[in-house]
Every structure is written in structure tokens, then in C-alpha cells.
């Protein structure tokens, strides 16, 4: 195979290509569904109906999308600095722990204040959990991919210990904490809308979605409008050039990875402070890993990440409905589809480049003639 064809127009490049890649992933997923003895088109119909068919479904879709915005941004910020943060899972768990501690610390006396402290707590603990792998990467050259994965396992065990030990609901049997104090939680959208007199079916979609959008905006600002963002991107593209230009690459690495950890940590806001209102074990459910797909599908641009996150929200919510309706389809199949989307949209972005470029060339040529 020779060189990748010349540049395509931006519209084709950043919208059509990812879309085609998703279609390929869905096609292969359809083959799996077909192999299980079910009708793939019927399944696709159920999936879309389950994601958009009614108000509650839409709420859930955006609720899941919120998780993916956080984890996608987390992967992306690290990637711009030239690193792979696969520790989103662990950082989210620690973020969940941070916000839980904040809520129990202040929730009884000042619920509203505790929410603000909880947001900070989630970010701080997530960043803290990313610090050790970040420091090891920057100062000792330890492979960040492996250290962050190890930190995922360690975080999971730590949370498991806390939830059957010191943090367990008194008298409880499940690995979960006591309920958060009254008022210590993020408002859900249907409550907000009801306040303005609009009725919307109940769903767990909550204010974290807005926090996630703000985070996306902040990341965009950081990357394209600040000096540090520029240093980050230079260090990510060419570390020795950055060092030569006077950028302290280790410092940039550590700060970028800690910001990445903070974003991953804030995922807990949506799950715990928006819906569960208690700390539960393994609430991260692989969202941290999906962040890799979201970041790559969104071409590591904040706007792209928000769109990709919504697509994954559709997959998640629609998939859950699908698993409910089709007995042979389990939640595991959704994991397969995720894997396929990561493979086609994330790892093989140029799969269909050649035919698309050829077609475009033909049409563009005809237009000119």
C-alpha cells in the first residue's frame, strides 16, 4: 500500500469518514447479531427506538453521553501532550471517592456548598490518582500505559476495600456507602425544566451534562488559546523540539496528565452525584476505556468529542433497550460493538480513505471540467 491519498475537504475528512467507519463497525456488529440468530435490522430499529423513541430514552442517552464527554476529554488532553492515559477507570473511581468524602464532610451542614466542594473533590482526587503515573512517566520514563492500567486495578481493589470496610453503609451487606445527605446532589433536568413549567419525563440526565459541556469549552480554550496549551501540543508532537524551545517537557507532561485525571475523575459527578446519590463499587463500568474511542472518533477536538460522546450515549442506551427486548442479546454484545467502533473509528481511520478519495477526485474533476 502506498501513501495515504492527498487531503480531502474538511467536511469529508471530519464528518463523512468517521460516519463511514461507524457504518462499517455497525455492519460487523450486525453480522455478530445475525450469527446469534437474530435479525440485525430489527435489532438496529430497536436500538434507535431505545435511544430516541421517547423523552425518558433521550434523557438516558444524554446521561450516558455525559460520562463519555468527561472520559473522552480526559484521553484527549493527555493525547495532545503525547501520552496515553488508559487510567480513566481508576481516576474516575478515585474521583467518585473524592466527591463522596466531600459530600459526607459538608453535606449535613451546607448541602449546596458541599456540591461545589464535591465537584472540586472529584477533580482533585482524579488528578491525584493520575499524579503518580504522570510523575513516573515524566521523571523515570515508566511506560504510562502500563502504570495507568495497574492503577486501575489498584483503585478497584481500594474502592472494594473501602466499601466493605470504613465506608460501607452501617448494617448494609452490599458494597456501597450510605446515601448522600439530603440536598447534596446535582439537580436532574426534569426538575430544572419543571421549575420553568416545562414537563419532561423523569430521567437521570442532570446538571453534570452542563458541567461536561463547560469542561469541553475549557479544554478547547486551553488547547487553542493559551500558552500552556500550545506548549502541551508542541511537547506532544515533538518533545525534543519543545525542550529545545525552552519548554519543560516533564512539567508539561505531569500537568497535562493531572488535568486528564481531573476530567476523568469528574465522571463520578454524573453517576454518583447526579443519579446514585451514594458511592457504589465499580460504578465506572468501562466508561474510562470507551473514552479512548470517543477521543479518537472526535478527532481529539472538543466539539468532535461531544458529538462522539452522544453517539456512544445512543449505543449505550439503545443497547440497553436492545438487551432488554432481545433475549439472546446481552449487555456483553454492547461491549463488542464498542470494541468494533474503537477498532474501525479509532485504529483504522483511513480504512475507506482510498475509495472516498477516488470518488471525490472523480466528482471534483467533473465539476472542474
Amino acid at each position: 500500500m502506498s501513501a495515504v491519498p492527498a487531503k480531502l475537504p474538511t467536511v469529508l475528512e471530519s464528518l463523512l469518514m468517521p460516519f463511514l467507519n461507524i457504518l462499517v463497525a455497525l455492519f460487523v456488529s450486525g453480522l455478530v447479531v445475525w450469527g446469534l440468530g437474530e435479525d440485525p435490522f430489527f435489532a438496529l430499529g430497536l436500538l434507535i427506538e431505545g435511544a430516541f423513541g421517547y423523552e425518558e430514552a433521550i434523557g438516558y442517552t444524554f446521561y450516558y453521553a455525559t460520562n463519555f464527554i468527561f472520559t473522552g476529554l480526559a484521553v484527549s488532553v493527555a493525547f495532545h501532550a503525547g501520552h496515553f492515559n488508559i487510567g480513566g477507570e481508576g481516576q474516575a473511581m478515585l474521583g467518585g471517592l473524592g466527591l463522596t468524602l466531600a459530600v459526607f464532610w459538608l453535606g449535613d451542614t451546607a448541602p449546596l456548598l458541599s456540591v461545589f466542594v464535591a465537584v472540586a473533590g472529584a477533580a482533585l482526587f482524579g488528578a491525584g490518582w493520575a499524579f503518580v503515573p504522570a510523575w513516573l512517566q515524566a521523571r523515570r520514563g515508566s511506560h504510562i500505559v502500563i502504570t495507568t492500567i495497574m492503577f486501575n486495578f489498584i483503585a478497584s481493589a481500594l474502592l472494594a476495600y473501602l466499601l466493605v470496610g470504613p465506608l460501607q453503609r452501617p448494617g448494609g451487606q452490599m458494597p456501597e456507602s450510605s446515601d448522600f445527605p439530603d440536598g447534596a446532589g446535582l439537580m436532574q433536568f426534569h426538575e430544572v425544566l419543571a421549575y420553568f413549567g416545562v414537563s419532561f419525563e423523569q430521567s437521570p440526565l442532570n446538571l453534570s451534562f452542563l458541567i461536561a459541556l463547560l469542561a469541553a469549552l475549557a479544554v478547547w480554550f486551553l488547547l487553542s488559546r493559551t500558552r500552556f496549551g500550545y506548549e502541551m501540543r508542541v511537547a506532544g508532537k515533538n518533545a525534543s523540539a519543545a525542550a529545545f524551545a525552552g519548554v519543560s517537557v516533564p512539567r508539561v507532561t505531569i500537568i497535562a496528565l493531572m488535568m486528564s485525571g481531573a476530567l476523568a475523575g469528574m465522571m463520578g459527578l454524573n453517576e454518583l452525584l447526579g443519579e446514585q446519590l451514594r458511592l457504589i463499587g465499580n460504578f465506572t463500568l468501562g466508561y474510562g476505556f470507551v473514552g479512548i474511542a470517543v477521543a479518537f472518533m472526535g478527532r481529539n477536538h472538543p466539539l468532535g468529542i461531544v458529538l462522539a460522546a452522544i453517539l456512544f450515549g445512543v449505543l449505550y442506551q439503545g443497547g440497553a433497550e436492545l438487551a432488554f427486548e432481545m433475549p439472546t442479546v446481552t449487555r456483553d454484545l454492547i461491549v463488542v460493538i464498542q470494541g468494533l467502533v474503537i477498532l474501525f473509528a479509532g485504529a483504522m481511520p483511513h480504512l475507506l480513505r482510498r475509495p472516498v478519495a477516488a470518488l471525490y477526485g472523480r466528482f471534483a474533476g467533473r465539476g472542474a471540467a
Binding site: S2, I154, Y161, Q338, G339, A347
Partner: protein, 323 residues
């Protein structure tokens, strides 16, 4: 004396636990020496474990299991090869995609085929690789020291365990004593030079991926047909990543990698042993903390307390012929 018996027992289980780690680490080594980072070891192991357990359950033969495990693992390795070599995609993303895909696909298929909640049926003794008693082991049982080491420690492991240890010199021989091995190492260090010499970078890298696939297939089969008796959801439990860490710790060389795997396995055996045991001064360690031990050890080792680690130079970088 009791202490010595303890050490002996721990070493015995360490050897058992080490087998899949060694095979996976060697797989990672072959891939990375040829310039392809294979973070998908975990997924290949899990897929092979599932394929081996399924085939063994259906045919009743562990050999059919091993063959299926290898076949599936090689197919995934070729997929990773296609992404890394032809598509020049991001190898970390591809590996993670394979890991995630398999984590979902294996239980889905297990459910569809066996309807046992994502597991395969428990394998009978004939459908597994059983313990092999080495020659003279019974005779030497009562000889002091020799008996303890030979009859208790070295004898009584499965075929796949012996195979794993055998693969270390085999891989070493291929890499350092054959022309193919020299080219394979060259393609991981300086693919341009290999290309200039008129040797196909693509072909070499695919060959390396096939070797990695075979080794990883053995590793996964060991999990479900030798160590365990069937496939359980997520049974690889991060071993693919531990194997990668062992490979880095072993500086991409077969024998040091073997030693690193043995160290990890020993710690793993130790954590199993420490569960529920009350230690002097510390008391009983909660099980969640003993589970952390191998992972913490990995981080400590990677923290570079063992000197500088130099990866093959072209590792992870797609080769573009006409650059």
C-alpha cells in the same frame, strides 16, 4: 523446616501460575522486537482461553482446545497486524479495541452456545491438560533435597507449563541464532535498513505477529484447560498487561523476561497464600490489599529501580516505505 516447606509450596504454585505469563510475555517480546506494540495480549489470551475451553468441552480433547486457542489468537494477531502494518493505525488503540471486543464477545458466544451465564461447561479431567509425573519422580520422592526439588517442585505440572519453559530457549534461539531472528530484530530497530537490503518489512512483521499469536494462544489455552477447568468471564484478569510489564522489566530479552514472570508469579502465589493469614505485628491483611500486590509490584518495578529500559527503536512506529 516449616518455612522451607512454605517456600517450596509457593514456588510450586508460582511455576504453575507463571506458565501463561511466560507465554504471553514471549508473545509480546516477539511482536515488539519486530516493531509492533501489542497491548492486545490480554484480549488474545482471553479469546484463546474461551476458544480452548469451548473446543475442549465439545470434543473432549485438550489438544483440540489448544489448536482452537492458537487459531483464534493468531487470527486476532493478524487483525492487529493488519491495523498496524497496512492501515498504519494507532497500535495502542487497536490493542485496546481487541481487548474490549473480546471481553464482550467471549461471554456473548459462551451464552449463545452453552447458556451458562457467560461461562463454558466445567471440563472433565480427560478434556484438560493434567499433571505429568516426570520419570523417576516417585522413586526419588524420599531422597533428601533432590526429592523435594525434583519430585515436588519440578514434577507434577501440566504439558503447557513445561511447554512454556521450553519456549524460552526456543524463542531465544530463533531471535539470536537464526537469520530470520536477526532480520526480525533489525526490523524493530531500523526498518529502513531492512527495506534497503531488499527484505520485506511487511512480511517480517506479519511473521512476528503469527509467532506472537501462537504463543498467546498457548497462554490462553493454559488458563482455561490447564490452570482452570473451563472459561470464566474476564479470567485473564490483567495477566496480559502483567506480561507486558514483565517483558519491559526483562528488557525485551527472553531469559530476563522469564525471571520477571517468575517474580510476578511468585508474588501472585504469595498473595493467594496471604489471604486470611494473620501476620506477626501487622495482623491480617484485608484481601483487597493482598490482591493489589502484583499490580503494586509492577508499578514499583516500572518506576525504573532496575536501570534504564530501552525499547526497540522502531517499536510502535508504522513503517512507510516511500517516506
Amino acid at each position: 523446616m516449616e518455612f522451607l516447606t512454605d517456600i517450596l509450596l509457593l514456588s510450586d504454585s508460582a511455576i504453575r501460575i507463571a506458565a501463561p505469563l511466560i507465554l504471553a510475555a514471549l508473545a509480546g517480546l516477539c511482536a515488539e522486537r519486530a516493531g509492533i506494540v501489542d497491548i492486545g495480549l490480554e484480549g488474545k489470551m482471553l479469546a484463546a482461553a474461551f476458544a480452548a475451553a469451548s473446543a475442549a468441552a465439545i470434543t473432549g480433547s485438550p489438544w483440540a482446545g489448544l489448536l482452537s486457542g492458537i487459531l483464534v489468537s493468531v487470527m486476532l494477531a493478524l487483525l492487529h497486524g493488519y491495523v498496524s502494518i497496512n492501515q498504519r493505525g494507532n497500535q495502542i488503540v487497536s490493542g485496546m479495541a481487541i481487548n474490549i471486543m473480546v471481553a464482550g464477545l467471549a461471554p456473548t458466544l459462551a451464552n449463545a452456545w452453552f447458556s451458562r451465564g457467560g461461562q463454558t461447561p466445567l471440563l472433565d479431567s480427560e478434556a484438560r491438560f493434567n499433571e505429568i509425573t516426570l520419570p523417576l519422580a516417585d522413586l526419588l520422592q524420599d531422597v533428601p533435597l533432590v526429592g523435594a526439588v525434583y519430585s515436588n517442585l519440578l514434577s507434577g505440572h501440566s504439558f503447557l507449563t513445561y511447554l512454556a519453559f521450553l519456549m524460552v530457549p526456543v524463542v531465544g534461539w530463533i531471535l539470536y541464532r537464526t537469520r530470520f531472528g536477526l532480520r526480525l530484530r533489525a526490523v524493530g530497530e531500523n526498518p529502513e535498513a531492512v527495506d534497503t537490503a531488499g527484505i520485506s518489512v511487511t512480511l517480517l512483521r506479519y511473521q512476528a505477529m503469527i509467532i506472537a499469536g501462537i504463543l498467546c494462544g498457548m497462554s490462553g489455552s493454559a488458563l482455561s484447560t490447564a490452570l482452570g477447568a473451563g472459561f470464566i468471564r474476564d479470567m485473564s484478569a490483567g495477566k496480559g498487561f502483567l506480561a507486558l510489564a514483565a517483558m519491559i522489566f526483562g528488557k525485551w530479552k527472553p531469559v530476563p523476561t522469564l525471571l520477571a514472570c517468575l517474580l510476578f508469579a511468585f508474588v501472585d502465589a504469595l498473595q493467594g497464600r496471604l489471604q486470611g493469614v494473620s501476620l506477626p505485628l501487622i495482623g491480617e491483611i484485608p484481601v483487597q490489599f493482598t490482591i493489589m500486590l502484583p499490580y503494586v509490584l509492577t508499578v514499583v518495578i516500572l518506576a525504573g529501580f532496575v536501570g534504564k529500559m530501552e525499547a526497540p527503536k522502531a517499536s510502535g512506529i508504522p513503517y512507510e516505505k516511500d517516506r
